[in-house]
Subunit: 219 residues, 2 copies
DNA sequence: TTTTTAGTTTAAGGTTGCTTAAAATCGCTT
DNA sequence: AAGCGATTTTAAGCAACCTTAAACTAAAAA
């Protein structure tokens, strides 16, 4: 299992989770920042190894063995993120980049030591569920997109999806953090933006694109 | 800086430290478990980059820039070893293999978080000094090979050099650990083996080859 | 149904880091 | 000084992973 294979399988899984739609070669190529031709190459190879269901011109789907690999990498990524954040007190903005490298170079044994040290946690610092050893994913029931909350209703931020360094910076600027309470003041159907009130009364308008990455639990 | 380059430079440094003699291509090839031809290739490449002083048929020596890289990797290796051992309570026998991978995928920032967490330590769990950021190496004055201790003299084990999984296992079997007190009972010039007494009175004969890796401080 | 076009595959080529085998060199021994 | 054996370099080639550019498909538009 090379770093390239790890990342390929992991991102087929994540892309499918995030978009809920079939994963195409060009979609994945964009995500991995490699050429579409390189994706085709790798896809054929992983198909031959029984990790991926690859058929020319069709969407990419994981076979059970490939999903297992993907979930293990996701587990390692999220455990590392939590460890770096909670134990080593690293900046929330940098844990993702570090975990992105460490996830490929961590034995199962080391990972379990970290898991034990953390007390078998269920969620990473962004609020994403940490898959278990058997592949079970902690339930996120009640967690919905911010846009699902009605006007004048309050909610607790449960998850801030990591997309890139820039989004992290925006979360920081706005003071968006897992666990804080938001009240939805108004929704603007025109551009999908959402006005929210922070604890203390500060009111802010969030763009649709940013709000797409904010999940919370109704209160 | 690739993993191959890291390992090349690190092992030129370590091999020179350990043997005190010039590092030849075949010597390094054996250590890295690659062919001598591969060493020549890489040496020429690193020579062109100003990291290594490479002249055909001559011994390999690090240039200042190369030594800096080497020391940084050694620092990361040893900090990781200590962290895995002291914080995560991993088996002393496995920390080396884990550190061998992590050392190449750890940012300076992450490393400093770990360094701070550990309280700026000077020695790794094997007793090896941890090079500082500026390249300064904590002094080991008073630390000598076990064979330098005279008969009937006592000493404290300061360093058990890691060579491979097998030596680690032998340390374990004999109960050899950093910090324990040994009394040298007898030296056998015939084969260089050394009889020592452990706390509690247990007496054991250590082969010359094993004793070569045991360092201690006279008491 | 034919054409267009977006998306995918194939083809050819580059880089890194390794291999084995042949050729060259060094330095010691006769 | 010549020869020999050990070491090192050179040469040729391979696998993994990537690239760009050309050829091909499939599915939507005309
Ligand atoms: Mn992440
Ligand atoms: Mn995360
Ligand atoms: Mn080590
Ligand atoms: Mn060590």
């Amino acid at each position: 299992m090379s770093v390239s294979v790890d990342n390929f399988l992991k991102n087929v899984y994540l892309l499918n989770q995030e978009t809920g739609s079939p994963v195409t070669s060009s979609h994945l190529a964009g995500r991995l920042e490699i050429s579409v031709a390189a994706v085709t190459d790798m896809a054929r190879k992983l198909g031959a190894q029984g990790l991926l269901d690859y058929r020319p011109y069709k969407a990419l789907t994981l076979m059970p063995a490939g999903k297992e690999v993907a979930l293990k990498i996701v587990r390692k990524h999220r455990l590392w993120e939590l460890f770096l954040y909670e134990v080593l007190k690293m900046d929330l903005m940098s844990v993702h980049e570090e975990a992105e490298k460490l996830e490929h170079h961590t034995s199962d044994d080391l990972m379990e030591h970290i898991n034990r040290f953390l007390g078998h946690p269920d969620f990473d610092p962004h609020g994403d569920p940490i898959p278990g050893i058997g592949g079970r994913i902690p339930s996120e029931k009640g967690v919905v997109l911010l846009r699902e909350i009605g006007e004048e209703e309050a909610c607790i931020v449960a998850k801030l999806r990591y997309r890139n360094a820039e989004t992290s910076e925006m979360y920081d600027r706005f003071g968006l953090k897992k666990g804080i309470r938001l009240k939805v003041v108004r929704m603007f159907p025109f551009d999908g933006s959402i006005e929210v009130e922070f604890p203390g009364g500060r009111e802010v308008v969030l763009s649709e694109k940013l709000a797409q990455n904010i999940f919370c639990i109704k209160q």
